[in-house]
């Protein structure tokens, strides 16, 4: 008897990023169980993610336990900057990948102490790709530095739509550059009206106190909600 081929259709309906989401959900669950607020920081390279973390990390460290996960394509440089301040940091090097995925986070996750209050996850510098990958974080920050220009929110909408907080960084440079602060805030709120906006400078410290207060309140809110 000869073999004959038959064609048929198979309905699948499976989420392509499902394996990432599954890991992200288990990370989220562990974070919630331990009352840890994880913050995923997204931005272009050089917009000041590490500098902001150095500032707010030290401030929060007075009363809270914090940890930092650093995502970069190569090198331990950022993790070393954080460790220099006496704060625990874990480096993930992606060796080429332009974003962090939940499974990469899972590799270092077992080393993270369960009694942390805040876990900051500094994503790979890139305003595009990291927006597509849930890491199980409680809050997502998008950072935009003044030198990058005031036309970014509508150019990179995914990052602004999927974040809860917009942190404008390097605001001490405003007097020297043409940057329309009102316009950028208006544009960001047009595509995501729920964004909370902070004006900051890691050099002068502007806005960092307010940002820490916001984080503390969010932590308390979540602990009450999950209790």
């Amino acid at each position: 008897m000869s073999m004959r081929k038959s064609k048929k259709e198979v309905l699948v309906l499976e989420d392509i990023l499902g394996s990432n989401k599954k890991i992200a959900n288990s990370i989220k669950k562990k974070l919630e169980e331990n009352g840890i607020l994880a913050v995923n920081l997204l931005s272009a390279p050089g917009s000041g993610k590490t500098a902001l973390l150095e500032r707010i990390g030290l401030k929060l460290n007075e009363n809270y336990r914090i940890g930092v996960i650093e995502g970069d394509v190569e090198t331990e440089r950022d993790a070393e900057r954080i460790r220099k301040l006496g704060l625990p940091a874990w480096q993930i090097t992606t060796h080429g990948a332009c974003h962090l995925e939940a499974r990469m986070l899972a590799r270092v996750f077992d080393r993270i102490p369960a009694d942390l209050d805040f876990l900051f996850i500094e994503n790979v510098g890139n305003l595009v790709c990291p927006a597509s990958f849930d890491l199980g974080e409680g809050l997502r920050f998008v950072l935009l530095s003044i030198p990058e220009g005031d036309d970014k929110p509508k150019k990179y909408p995914e990052a602004f739509i999927t974040s809860q907080v917009l942190v404008l960084t390097k605001c001490d440079l405003l007097p020297y550059l043409t940057f329309d602060l009102d316009k950028v805030i208006k544009e960001a709120l047009e595509i995501n009206p729920k964004l909370k906006v902070f004006r900051t400078s890691a050099v002068t410290g502007e806005g960092t106190e307010e940002l820490c207060t916001f984080l503390k309140l969010e932590l308390e809110k979540r602990r009450i909600r999950n209790a």
């Binding site: 073999m3 048929k8 990023l17 394996s19 595009v128 790709c129 009206p193």
Partner: protein
């Protein structure tokens, strides 16, 4: 350019489903791509065709269904399809009641919808 890592995940699902269905070959792959999924259809397509070599889907065609961004207005309850999301003029507000309290109900999707397979039958 993260499309290749997404395509790698897609092929894990394709291989698994093809095996379950006892397929000898996958001839068509149909995916649903939300406008807000962060995937660029053109890049996804080229990543797909370079990745498929040597897999069970090595001659498969790729069909992409683009899923529009949809909001539900929390104030008046209407569902709105965002036609001009990529336009400068896009504003996140309800065209009927002007409320900004809108919830995203579709557009972030990234699904493998269906496969067309060949089975070697008797």
């Amino acid at each position: 350019m993260h499309e290749l890592s997404i395509v790698a995940d897609l092929f894990t699902i394709i291989e698994e489903r093809a095996k379950q269905a006892r397929a000898s070959r996958v001839t068509k792959v149909r995916v649903m791509v939300g406008e807000l999924s962060g995937v660029v259809p053109e890049l996804f397509r080229s990543a797909f065709h370079s990745y498929k070599k040597g897999t069970i889907a090595d001659r498969a065609r790729l069909e992409m269904k683009i899923v529009k961004i949809k909001f539900k207005c929390q104030n008046c309850g209407r569902e709105i399809t965002a036609k001009n999301f990529r336009d400068e003029s896009f504003s996140y507000s309800c065209p009927f009641c002007r409320s900004k309290d809108m919830e995203l109900i579709s557009g972030r999707d990234l699904y493998l919808e269906r496969l067309e397979i060949e089975t070697a039958g008797q």
